[in-house]
């Protein structure tokens, strides 16, 4: 299954990804970086396309905890 992952060190916490996410699976943690709720993420990649700092990468992951 494809899931979004955030490079928290690079993330500028602008929140564009959270606005774009159709599943409301992204939140901005304490104004510091984006956090993806993996259980909600469907791997659509809308956040990755919107991210201006290239901090989100949607990739295949194995054994996702349900």
């Amino acid at each position: 299954m494809r899931k979004a992952a955030v490079d928290t060190n690079r993330c500028v916490a602008c929140g564009v990804c959270a606005l774009q996410c159709p599943k409301e699976a992204i939140g901005i943690y304490k104004g510091s970086y984006a956090v993806v709720d993996v259980a909600k993420c469907v791997g659509c990649g809308m956040c990755e396309k919107a991210c201006p700092s290239g901090s989100i990468n949607v990739a295949e992951v194995q054994d996702v905890i349900k």
């Binding site: 690079r10 500028v12 916490a13 602008c14 929140g15 564009v16 959270a18 606005l19 774009q20 996410c21 159709p22 409301e24 901005i28 943690y29 304490k30 104004g31 510091s32 809308m46 396309k49 919107a50 991210c51 201006p52 700092s53 290239g54 901090s55």
Partner: protein, 197 residues
């Protein structure tokens, strides 16, 4: 934005950005209203420890989205990595604050009478554009108008930079090195660390 989300009043704040520049075109005193965009994000960060302003209320960020995504004015290509690197972000913040300080000093010079009111808007901290129609005197002292011209210059310049990077790269590339964004994220990170430590 996505199809199934409820629209809020603050989703339309991109209109504010246009209104702001329009008002300042006719009367420079309106430039002072831009202070809201300076103070509000800092209050959110310092008090709430969040970037709710950037995330939901930034009219400039929204305008770049409307123009870049909805009106297809952006190439939507990834920006070079150095643009969102820490040294560039903090370097740009330092440069921006230095320029802000020099603008405050210019205002002080007019206040003290060492300098006179210059009815110009300075673009990219270099190019002087005559703007004399925007002020014909008022009951307020000249330094108030001087600050208006200086602040309007700063707002217009940063919006123009934002529009250029919007067209060249991702819609909201400006957000990656926006001085307000860097400052508020910095405050939030310090607060988050203190809270957990």
């Amino acid at each position: 934005m996505s199809l199934n989300k409820k629209k809020h009043w603050y989703d339309y704040l991109w209109i504010w950005t246009i209104v702001y520049f329009a008002l300042g075109f006719f009367n420079i005193l309106f430039a002072w209203l831009g202070m809201i965009d300076f103070i509000l994000p800092l209050i959110f960060a310092a008090v709430g420890g969040n970037k709710w302003f950037c995330n939901h209320m930034c009219g400039r960020g929204q305008l770049f989205w409307v123009l870049g995504r909805n009106l297809k004015c952006s190439r939507r290509k990834p920006a070079p990595k150095w643009i969102s690197s820490k040294w560039f972000r903090y370097g740009f913040l330092t440069f921006f604050m230095t320029m802000f300080g020099s603008m405050i000093f210019q205002t002080y010079l007019v206040f003290s009478g060492a300098s006179t009111l210059k009815k110009v808007v300075k673009l990219f901290w270099t190019f002087k554009v005559p703007w004399k129609w925007a002020y014909n005197g008022s009951v307020l002292p000249d330094w108030v108008a001087q600050f208006g011209f200086g602040f309007y210059s700063l707002m217009l310049t940063s919006t123009l930079i934002g529009l250029i990077v919007m067209a060249m790269y991702k819609e909201r590339t400006w957000c990656t090195f926006c001085p307000m964004g860097t400052m508020t994220q910095g405050i939030c990170k310090i607060k988050a660390k203190k809270g957990s430590g």
